[in-house]
């Protein structure tokens, strides 16, 4: 049996009359990169917020490492080993890059067991890992968007997570920055052994890097499988990609 790190079972989240996430079930295997795609408003960010405990789901269960974490407060879920980067970056602007990452280290996996000095070391390592070493003492507010996105990743990694949720880590970046970030995400996965779920709109990127893809549409899961399977799934093509030939082009670029 495959080693499942996260198991979603019929997760449902409603906002008033709107069903943002509708009976969604899928599993994430330890060590993989899973892409989560779907048109705007498909419920991807909402699902992330359910997993991290920001929202309590109306139905279903979230099982992480065999423990039912449904409805647990967000800070406890963070301590269990799930970290997230935000779609709209949320740096602590009045803190330095290093201090931002220290917050991750102090309250992450080793929360309560890590001293200030050790937290600073972990933070420095992660800040350097994402390539912000030279900006460690800059205020977060002085960074560019690309750097702020990297800081989000450094801060999340400082928590020493087992599962990392990346919410559109590539949005708003130019092609060169996207390539760099993709390299970074691969290294996080391979060198640190962190399991990753990435919500992404940059299609060729996610098709390239993810081993498996889950497609959401109007809150429902409409497809799941390898990038090729998903891209050839008629329901995905009509719902999301629209044009079958366009979908196939993305798949071909995987080889390139």
């Amino acid at each position: 049996m495959v080693n499942v790190i996260l198991d979603l079972k019929n997760v449902t989240k409603r906002f008033g009359g709107l069903v943002a996430v509708d009976e969604v079930s899928f599993s994430v295997r330890r060590g993989e990169i899973l892409g989560l795609i779907g048109p705007n408003g498909a419920g991807k960010t909402t699902l992330f917020n359910v997993i991290t405990g920001v929202y309590k789901p109306e139905g279903g269960r979230v099982i992480f490492k065999g423990v039912d974490i449904t409805g647990m407060p967000a800070h406890r879920i963070a301590k269990m080993g799930i970290a997230k980067t935000h779609q709209i970056v949320k740096p602590f602007n009045d803190m330095t890059v290093l201090e931002n990452a220290m917050i991750g280290a102090l309250f992450g996996k080793r929360s309560g067991k890590i001293g200030m000095g050790e937290a600073r070391e972990v933070a420095r390592r992660m800040v350097e890992f994402v390539g912000l070493g030279e900006k460690a003492n800059h205020l977060a507010s002085q960074l560019t968007l690309h750097e702020k996105k990297l800081l989000e990743i450094a801060r999340a990694l400082s928590a020493e997570p087992e599962l990392l949720l990346l919410d559109e880590a590539l949005a708003g970046l130019n092609p060169r920055e996207i390539e760099e970030s993709l390299g970074l995400i691969k290294r996080v996965n391979e060198e640190m052994g962190v399991t990753i779920i990435m919500v992404e709109h940059v299609m060729h990127a996610v098709m390239n890097i993810a081993e498996r893809i889950v497609v959401l549409h109007y809150g429902r899961k409409i497809s799941e499988g390898s990038p090729e399977e998903v891209a050839n799934d008629p329901e995905v093509i009509t719902a999301y990609l629209g044009d079958p030939s366009l979908a196939l082009r993305f798949v071909r670029r995987r080889g390139a």
């Binding site: 991290t52 405990g53 920001v54 407060p73 967000a74 800070h75 406890r76 963070a78 301590k79 970290a83 997230k84 935000h86 949320k90 602590f92 602007n93 009045d94 803190m95 330095t96 201090e99 220290m102 917050i103 991750g104 102090l106 309250f107 992450g108 929360s111 890590i114 200030m116 937290a119 003492n137 801060r155 999340a156 928590a159």
Partner: protein, 333 residues
């Protein structure tokens, strides 16, 4: 950081040492009255106390007069009605006063922990408005309850300590100094701890902090409670020095004084409330002597200017500067 000259390693600690040396020096020299020195410590102390919740966690509380009042009334009523408390406060050249003030502080802290569980769910302006409500609620409760405790002796909500409950001023001074040191050093410890980092993260972005693992609800409540504890202690000793207490202690103006001091000095730093407190104390005195009647108007204008042009306060501005190649941000806490 290594480039900093030795004496600049920790300007914050240096500032604390200088202020304490100044207080002790004045005490020995006897140029300032004990009352004036106590008022000085009281001002700096309440600013530092409020700083824990407002400076670090970013929650602007207009309700701290309530904690001053609870501390003051608890202390005064305890020594008035409980003979053992009255004997206790007369022991140990001020240590007894300190001990009873701790009880008074705990009363304020208990109320803060209870109220905090509710009001700390509110954010920004809504929290601030709710805390204004606390001042008025406390005022009416005290006006209603206190007179019934001893209808023959109490004039309204005013309780004046009889001569048998009066403590030598020197003792009160010692207790005030001890409390002052405690609140300042607590600020310093919080600033340097993971708890303090968590509070600063809450101030910056509470939702992001929670997702990163900061137990936001718990931390806010602890900060609010700790802040109220010291405020209550200071209120208690202040009232004792004044020989009693009346409902005026719940006046919103006391809360505003505290806010003004840390805004002038710089929110969320250890030195901010100290510097702000010193300036406020000095201005308050100066304006009261030279422009009685107009003093509050002038003070209001000064505060307005600070908020408009230097919202980070004096320490906030200094922290942006570089001195001999060293970023002051890394040194000034």
């Amino acid at each position: 950081m290594s480039r900093a000259p030795g004496y600049l390693k920790s300007p914050t600690l240096l500032l604390i040492v200088v202020v304490v040396a100044y207080i002790l020096g004045e005490r020995l020299a006897g140029l300032m009255t004990l009352d004036a020195l106590m008022l000085f410590m009281y001002f700096l102390g309440i600013a530092a106390a409020l700083n824990i919740i407002m400076g670090f966690a970013g929650y602007v509380s207009f309700g701290h007069a309530v904690f001053l009042g609870i501390g003051a009334y608890t202390y005064i009523l305890l020594v008035y009605f409980v003979p053992t408390m009255n004997s206790l406060q007369k022991m140990g050249a001020g240590l007894g006063v300190f001990a009873v003030a701790v009880v008074a502080g705990l009363a304020a802290a208990a109320v803060a922990a209870t109220i905090g569980a509710v009001v700390l769910r509110l954010r920004g302006a809504f929290f601030a408005i709710a805390t204004i409500g606390l001042d008025f609620a406390a005022l009416y409760i005290v006006k209603g309850v206190v007179p019934t405790l001893n209808p023959e002796q109490f004039y309204g909500a005013q309780v004046i300590l009889p001569s048998w409950a009066i403590v030598p001023k020197e003792d009160v001074f010692n207790a005030m100094l001890l409390t002052f040191l405690l609140v300042i050093l607590t600020n310093y410890a919080v600033r340097r701890s993971g708890f303090g980092m968590g509070l600063l993260a809450i101030k910056e972005d509470e939702d992001a902090a929670e997702v990163l693992g900061v137990p936001t609800a718990k931390y806010k409540t602890i900060a609010f409670t700790l802040s109220a504890f010291f405020t209550g202690m200071l209120g208690a000793i202040f009232a004792l020095n004044g020989g009693g207490v009346d409902e005026g202690i719940f006046h919103l103006g006391h809360s505003i004084n505290m806010i003004v001091m840390i805004v002038i000095g710089g929110l969320g730093t250890v030195s901010g409330p100290i510097v702000g407190g010193i300036i406020y104390y000095w201005l308050y005195d100066l304006l009261l002597i030279h422009y009685p009647g107009l003093n509050l108007v002038i003070l209001g204008i000064i505060v307005g200017l600070v908020v408009l042009f230097a919202p980070e306060g004096i320490i906030g501005i200094l922290r942006k500067l570089t001195f001999q190649g060293v970023r002051l941000r890394e040194l000034l806490e």
